[in-house]
Amino acid sequence: MTKPFKLISTIAMSALLVSVMAACSGNNGTANNESGSTNAPKTGSEATAKPDAPKPALKRLNVWAGEDYNVYPVAKLLEENTGYKMQTDMLPQDKWAEKLNLIMSSGEAYDIVTSYSDMALYSDYAQKGALVDLGPLIEEFGPNIKAALKPESIEALKVNGKLYAIPTTVTYEINSSILIRTDWLEKLDLSMPTTTDELTNVLTQFKEKDPGGNGDRNVPLTIKGDQSIIDNIVGAFGMPNAWNDVDGQLVPRVLDPSYKDYVAYTGSLYKNGLIDREFVANKDATAKEKFASGVAGAIVVHWADIPALSESLAKTKPEATFAFVPPLKGPNGEFGFAANAGFDRLSYIPKSSKHPEEAIKWINASLEPETFKNMAIGVEGTHYKVVDGAYEPIQPIFTDERNLANNFMAGTDETNYPQYWQARVRKNPVMFEAFDFLNNQQPAEAKVTNLLGLAPYMQQYAKNNQQLNTMIGDYTVKLIAGAESIDGLEDFQKKYMAAGGEASSKEVNEWYATLAK
């Protein structure tokens, strides 16, 4: 291209430059119009201009919920009680951590971010300097926060000695056990199993006598494909948690001396057709469907799954009844469930927040005991009533106005919340019964606390934990299904150690030693 072209391009470029500027302001104009008409976030900038302006509007990023936070009744309550207008956005349900990373790095000015408790993610943000150090702020503005949180929670969340997040702790200890068809037991004149031997017997009877009349489809105990570690049974072999104390050291299951016995027992259940033959291919939903349609006599589930199961089962097999199996005693008399410890959600203040102090004040106001109680379970006589010292929900208003309440919390009143929280479980009596059996009626020694739940951030452990658990899970599946022989255990252990098990183990036990002191 020759001279004239150059001329054109110069003209074009200079025209471009001029109009880019014009267009940029123009673009902003149109963009604002668009978002303005759809009540876009308009927080911040004006408010920060005047530092002592009365309570700015805050912006929060929260986990996905089925309903809009901003119009949910709890939002109104909090606005009245804290005096802050809060505008909340949600993370997606699917692959939320990626979107959270994206938002954190986009510098979007959220004042509070609440996500699922992912210690690796949290400590990564903290170390990269993306979060505000909450210690001084809480000291100055957070008397309620200090009162609500237990010291061990605060300790567990410290990264390099500083606190960057406020947790909502888990509200119950025991998740799951074996759910068994009690009408099948009655039909065969069997009692609820209390030991692993009795369980074998019950399942054998289920198989041979087919009390459900399922013929070929009959399944004594169904589990899902990734559930090779069966809650309750694993406790009978002294390994309720992923890491258990063996002679003063925390040891992962695959290195536990009882591991062989556990695999031998479950392997024999499978070999004899007492565990679902096709369990390896079972998805969560497949296993549930087998139980819900009355084909399976027992299933390993979380108590929160019970309403869906019981509803379907009531339609397909109206005569069906079921209950959780109590902690089974193993050959050495050991028993127990893994008891949750640790956090459900974490709330933190990103560095990009325009109002970190106000955010802490908001959290503090939300943790004022009466406000917190109202947020959690509502008003006595309207949302709940007290029956025998327990909070009973009044339906349907409780579900309508407080069902999502837990999502609004940034920190909980750690002493009282577990009690308030049980009102939520009482919404469904069948579920509550199962929950109550596992969580309230079991003796303390049947609940073996997952010590690592409250451990502080440990780099190696956080990095490797999930992968190592998957490794153990997959290997155990193969052992149970007979695809691998237990003779190869030593080789596997070596592989496990090399894949990060050794580093994790060292780190975990260094911490454990300090705990024992």
Binding site: P4, A15, A23, A281, K283, A285, T286, K288, E289
Partner: protein, 315 residues
């Protein structure tokens, strides 16, 4: 086909003549301004951003505040097992899509061409064009639904034949097939349109002459319809090859999950996950640049081939 262009004489003209043309048509050049702003701002400015592939980009420092690392990101890319896996996935899915899905619209066009009942023909066309207009989110939603291991109709059918339910969306051995199948489901009808048009362009007399010579209809399809479509087929094929490295990013983003990263993660999804999800901007820009560069080469080669074989260039 195109009207004679008045500007043919320009090459003979003098600079003054061109200047006059420009001056006389200043309003035309003004019209271009919005388009040019768009072009430079949203198409060329991001190309400048590619230089972060040669940096260790720090989002807070920006391009000027980031450290130069030269080709380090590309070395890392070539040594990364994960990238090799992703490249393999991309090529496999793309090749499956081409070998399996490319011929189907041609067959559909040939078949529709044989149908004489117009009502039937139009009904089928209406139905099979429809999925093209649905978003991948909806289509993934539909298939997640019907393939669900709990109550999905496909698994109910499998079960009624005594089979075991299959969890399609979490199975590494099935995921690629699923991607290919759903892509076919969405676009097979739509992609047939160009071939149907090519067939419509074939003169009816050719068929009549063949019929008189005693050629059956299969014979006619083979020796008249197919050759008549050939230029279109070649053109479409070359175009398709040009997008070999685009295995369906949006489709896979709406369908995949961590259980099938092993077989389903393709370059586009990988760039998103690594670059934006995990803030590895420079590395994923390097991956993106690799992708663009290979794609560019493929298109150039394709265009050359097109010119050589059917005498038409793509643009």
């Amino acid at each position: 086909m195109s009207k004679p262009r008045g500007g043919e004489g320009v090459s003979l003209g003098t600079g003054r003549r061109r200047l006059k043309l420009i001056r006389g048509n200043m309003d035309m050049y003004m019209l271009l301004i919005p388009g040019l702003i768009f072009l430079f701002l949203f198409k060329y400015a991001p190309m400048y951003g590619i230089i972060i592939a040669f940096q260790d980009f720090n989002i807070f420092g920006g391009i000027s505040g980031s450290e130069w690392v030269g080709m380090a990101q590309f070395e890392r890319l070539l040594q990364s097992d994960e990238f090799m896996q992703v490249l393999t996935n991309t090529l496999l899915i793309s090749l499956y899509k081409i070998t399996i899905l490319f011929p189907i619209p041609i067959v559909i066009a040939l078949m529709l061409n044989e149908v004489r009942r117009m009502f039937f023909k139009r009904t089928i066309q209406t139905i099979i064009y429809l999925p093209h207009f649905l978003s991948w989110v909806i289509i993934s939603g539909l298939f997640i639904n019907i393939l669900s291991p709990s109550g999905g109709i496909v698994n109910e059918i499998i079960r009624s034949f005594g089979g075991e339910p299959i969890s399609f969306f979490t199975s590494n051995s099935l995921f690629r097939s699923l991607v290919v199948f759903t892509a076919g489901w969405k676009e097979m009808g739509w992609n047939a349109i160009v071939f149907i048009a090519a067939l419509a362009g074939i003169e009816q007399e050719q068929y009549e002459a063949a019929a008189i010579d005693g050629a059956g209809r299969i014979r006619q399809m083979w020796s008249i319809s197919l050759p008549g479509m050939l230029p279109t087929i070649v053109l479409m094929f070359i175009l398709r090859i040009g997008s070999l490295l685009e295995a369906g990013t949006e489709q896979i983003l709406t369908m995949y999950n961590p259980l099938v990263y092993e077989t389903g993660d393709v370059i586009g999804t990988f760039v998103y996950r690594m670059g934006l999800g995990q803030q590895d901007y420079s590395f994923s820009t390097a991956v993106g640049l690799f992708n663009s560069a290979v794609g560019f080469l493929l298109i150039i080669i394709g265009n050359m081939l097109s010119r050589k074989f059917i005498g038409r260039s793509i643009w």
